[in-house]
Symmetry: C2
């Protein structure tokens, strides 16, 4: 199933089903008013949602209409938790050099993860209001999963079975603020403004063999102001999503709708490019001796779209966002 959320001014929005071809949608409010409510009653709503999805794909769902990503919020405009890993070790190792921070202990064997704000996500085409270009504005292309309820102390294998949906993420980051916050040991806060999501969340079966080994085996195509920036592959994730969820649930239960992110998608092969600017900058420094690329300016756009290995567009739809000065920003 493919699910999205129609913006209606409420905190959780209205649940939509989106057709497999991404062209049509239908309100699913008679089954569950919102995606978060569907996730809380998943066992009960899964079958009726599946029937409506089948009707939508067959062209027989009453009230279906053309799907408009611009009318959508993030699939979950707010979530119980947003927990973002750093599961592509290639990215993490490069960022240690970019930030000049000490090596993370046990980085190869224990996932690292920060707790992000989850009350105020951005939609796929929303402008991104930020206070200052001097903060080092950067995107981070990621994949993520949405869980059902997860018990405390779950195993990585059992955790993987708690995955309900797969999502595509833009984890906005402010690079001038990150190194200080890492050095405090308290983690990212100011360095992580509101996170954005592609419009469509999908059940893992929609990905077919591209959901394999607890990873999203797809390329993430990144364009910055219309120019190719990279297309790293999600399969290089060093910890799978079950391991990330189990890490998050070591000392707490997770409630339905918790979102767990992969961290910036990153490949060892330089030819893949990058899914964030900070990584390109440190690669420039390593490979060419100097940093040539600046961070984003107000007015800049980033576009993120996942593709299957055969080049076909993925089911999540597109993140396409512009950074703008926050009201009152200098």
């Amino acid at each position: 199933m493919k699910l999205a959320t129609l913006r209606d001014g409420s905190l959780d929005g209205q649940l939509l089903l989106v057709s497999r071809d991404g062209q049509r949608a239908v309100r699913a409010g008679a089954i569950a008013p919102s995606l978060i409510e569907a996730l809380r009653r998943w066992d009960e709503v899964q079958a009726p949602l599946g029937e409506l999805y089948a009707a939508l794909n067959a062209g027989s769902a009453p009230g279906a209409f053309d799907f408009d990503p611009a009318a959508c919020t993030a699939p979950l405009p707010r979530a119980p938790q947003w927990l973002d890993g750093s599961a592509f070790l290639n990215h993490g190792r490069l960022m240690e050099q970019a930030f000049n921070t000490p090596p993370i202990p046990l980085f190869d064997s224990v996932p690292v993860m920060y707790q992000g704000a989850s009350d105020d996500f951005l939609g796929p085409l929303d402008d991104v209001p930020l206070p200052s270009e001097a903060d080092g504005i950067d995107f981070e292309g990621e994949f993520g999963v949405v869980t059902g309820p997860v018990p405390m102390g779950v195993s990585p294998e059992a955790a993987l079975a708690c995955v309900r949906l797969v999502v595509q993420v833009n984890d906005w980051s402010l690079r001038a603020l990150g190194p200080h916050e890492m050095k405090t040991g308290f983690g990212f806060l100011q360095a992580k403004p509101s996170t954005a999501f592609a419009p469509v969340a999908v059940t893992p079966d929609e990905l077919g063999s591209a959901w394999r080994d607890g990873r999203v085996q797809m390329q993430l195509n990144v364009l910055w102001n219309g120019e190719r920036f990279g297309e790293p592959h999600g399969g290089e994730m060093n910890f799978h999503f079950g391991q990330l969820i189990a890490h998050a649930a070591r000392t707490r239960r997770l409630t339905a709708g918790t979102i767990v992110g992969s961290g910036t998608v990153s490949n060892v092969a330089r030819s893949a490019g990058s899914a964030c600017i900070a990584e390109r900058r440190v690669i420039e420094k390593i490979d060419q001796g100097e940093i040539r690329t600046g961070f984003m300016a107000f007015g800049d756009r980033v576009r993120l779209q996942a593709c299957f290995e055969d080049g076909q567009a993925g089911p999540f739809g597109m993140i396409d966002q512009r950074v703008v000065p926050a009201t009152g920003a200098p």
Copy 2:
């Protein structure tokens, strides 16, 4: 006003007003179904809530009943964000020694703060299920504030005017897991299981002169298994709550109901005792050459209650919790 939340199986619970003497309560659902909803419509509900509160105090509120903290969840059983500072520098400096972590840069001039989970808070008398005594189970007595909506880039002075409620907090911590998470730079996650709150949230005016300079000028009385552990005073907070809120809102807006914590209440004077075990342990090491106190065992209780400077019990009610093995824990 004094507000609390009746447990009813829903995610946000039912809004109660509690009498000034803490003895009586009345459902306020006709004005706002829950505290979070009241905070979202504060300008509109403040006057009718005030009228009902006056009637409750006068003994003329229809349907009033005896207030029972055991029937309460945290005032906000879930919140948009839980952002916990470390605004008592005495505590922070001692913890650096306890954890053997590097000095936090700019610790005297820039607040440190971590993003905690905010979807699954514990009530004031709830048992605390945790996976293992080996994790170093510890309490942390704190004060906190609940904000209205806060714009991005707010000044500390304007931020202080966004305070709607004052709360009392027990920020449960697992000390064996904290140092590693600090060293990753990604901040606390496993080291911070669900946080607990005293039953009553109060508008700042209820504190009279004990709400002064953006700080809670009260003692926090801490008993561990019935024995005196400390009574540090909230007035020694090195950053005031307006500064903490402004720090949190530097690159994001805060939505109504965001909770900002002080960090562990801590005084320079050794005679004040401590509001967490980790602090007592490092003081023992410094002053007596060896650590004598262990962390909590399953079955242990901690009681936290704020008192005015004249010794009178504060308006928040009591946190009184027992740690228990999580289901399935070894």
